[in-house]
Symmetry: C2
Subunit: 339 residues, 2 copies
DNA sequence: TTGTAAGCGTTATCAT
DNA sequence: ATGATAACGCTTACAA
């Protein structure tokens, strides 16, 4: 038996505002919606009553009733990569600008991805944005099985599944141009530094570079694989791998799958192997993280078109229908001192 | 008029599971709660029915009914600081481990903070964790006014308001020890590199260092202020500020309020001013971001006790009552090559 | 241990 | 333009 007159510590509800404004509860709701058909007079009355009572619509109740949560899940892993911070900042910002809340879900590893997706679906997120490296086809299927995730968008990498939307940088075009640039600058014995095989294959950066170089010079450059996109790990792997190469295969350039690998590689070259960058070995990265422009690294790299990608993501999220396919954006080479 | 027998694309609800399992809807609910009193037999029946139907409890509806959302809002700004990535990863991970969702709210600037807090409160978050630099007392008051935010926790800095909980590193103890270390190592003319005045005052790192140094040597070291905790900005400010100092005040050490400032300072020293670190000028930072251990910087710094701080945060969030006060943890000096 | 009634605060839908 | 009805899917009582 709730006493309507006892307002102590009770949450202010639309009914309270309605009573205060002398209108119905539904009119209060309309006043707070953009598109609703309501007279200016009513809206004013409602708004002033709402203000004096300190009323704010309850998004939880609204979500339940409307079956739209205005929540977007952002599923991430790979927090070692400094590029992640750029993405998190940008996406959480544009989501908020669009009126969506950001549900950040930290996927620990590949096996964790399906459960992360379920966690999101239990909150009826309007969409799930996957920005990570460690999920695979299984995740996609789990996601599509979770009926409450209406939209599944793979951000910053291509998707293996045809049913999903993916928004990414044109990796193939990028690596072609990087190969051309390396060739033009006179480098002749590059090595490609790649991430873990599974993810590397999806990015298609490695195969593109290797293929393009082979087309130009008839031989495929060697590769170094790093198990994780982490700066210290890349450093360790490059330190181990380089001295083992026959002298004839000693590289004059390391083309790296991303900046984390590139920075780790530079650390190894300079501080473990005593080589000068770019004097002895040049380095090219990918992402253009903040550090790439620091004078300590001054890294030639590829800038992902984050503006365009974020804008495309918003468009896709806004769309009423279920779009699908790939949205690919070009990006640009950022020439600095390292190559 | 919903047709109960038409299951096409309908969300599976507790009622469906109840029917399938031959129990009541409430028993289904109990089966999914940890503490509920339910017979093992019923639970098994329910769970197998749930599994075969693909049922998962709807957290939205649960939140509305129970008035607990199991959502924690994480209000952040200062995404330029690489330390933010450590915090985001850690907190989103422990929240998930505890069964809480993370609502990431990106505060653009100081004026944005109150509205960010309201956005969180509209989702009935169980708690709001503030991890940022740009909010001030006004935000606190706005937050406490928002009745639906039950707990307000300031993370990684002290709070100005006595009504809030704060979990932070012992900045005062840290800077005392840094001053002692600098003194012991023979540095005699340090400069303190601080962030924006408002925030700097709250951290108390600057005043602690200055005070401690004055107590030891009778004079207060000069300061350089940077408007933002950003690496490039710190670089620019140090580049401008250092040459202007009289030769007698030329520093042999820069003590920096955090690693972002320290890294920017090192860039300026080495690449703009042609000075060797630590040969000509030593540098000390604060935070121990990933970059600090890179050989390019090899930064002596203070490691915030993130483990302990995250654990304390969980305890505070778990607590039924409303704890308050400051939870302070010590951290440790990480000695590397830069000082 | 299990079932029932009464909400939680909103919105979709229809009626006026 | 506004009001009324019936959900949305669950949980907290409390009764059996």
């Amino acid at each position: 038996m709730t006493d309507q007159t006892d307002l102590t510590d009770r949450v202010v509800t639309a009914d309270d505002v309605a009573t205060a404004a002398g209108v119905s509860r539904w009119t209060v709701g309309r006043a707070f919606r953009k598109d609703a058909s309501i007279s200016e007079k009513s809206r004013k009355k409602v708004m002033s009553a709402a203000k004096s009572l300190g009323y704010l619509p309850d998004l939880l109740a609204a979500s339940l009733a409307s079956d739209r949560s205005n929540l977007v899940a952002l599923l991430c892993d790979d927090f070692d990569n400094p590029h992640k911070l750029l993405v998190l900042e940008r996406l959480s910002r544009v989501f908020r600008e669009e009126g969506w809340g950001t549900l950040l879900v930290n996927m620990r590893d590949a096996s964790d991805a399906p459960s992360a997706l379920l966690a999101a679906s239990q909150r009826r997120v309007d969409a799930a944005v996957l920005n990570g490296t460690w999920f695979d086809g299984r995740v996609m299927r789990a996601a599509l099985g979770a009926r409450r995730v209406r939209k599944l968008i793979v951000f910053a990498r291509t998707s293996e599944s045809p049913d999903t939307i993916s928004i990414c940088c044109d990796d193939v075009g990028a690596l072609r141009e990087i190969a051309r640039y390396a060739d033009d600058r006179g480098y002749r014995s590059p090595i490609f530094v790649a991430g873990p095989d599974t993810h590397s294959a999806i990015l298609r950066r490695k195969e593109t570079f290797l293929g393009e170089w082979k087309a130009r010079h008839g031989r495929q450059p060697p590769c170094i694989h790093v198990d994780h996109y982490s700066i210290p790990l890349a450093r360790a792997r490059v330190r181990e791998a380089l001295p083992g190469l026959a002298a004839a295969r000693r590289p004059d350039l390391l083309v790296c799958e991303n900046d984390a690998l590139a920075i780790g590689a530079m650390d190894a070259l300079r501080h473990d192997l005593g080589l000068a960058v770019p004097g002895d070995v040049a380095v090219i990265g990918f992402d253009d993280v903040g550090l790439a422009s620091s004078p300590a690294y001054d890294l030639t790299t590829w800038r992902q078109p984050l503006d365009a990608m974020a804008a495309a993501l918003v468009d896709v999220l806004r769309a009423d229908h279920e779009p699908s396919g790939e949205y690919v954006f070009p990006g640009e080479l950022v020439r600095r001192g390292s190559a």
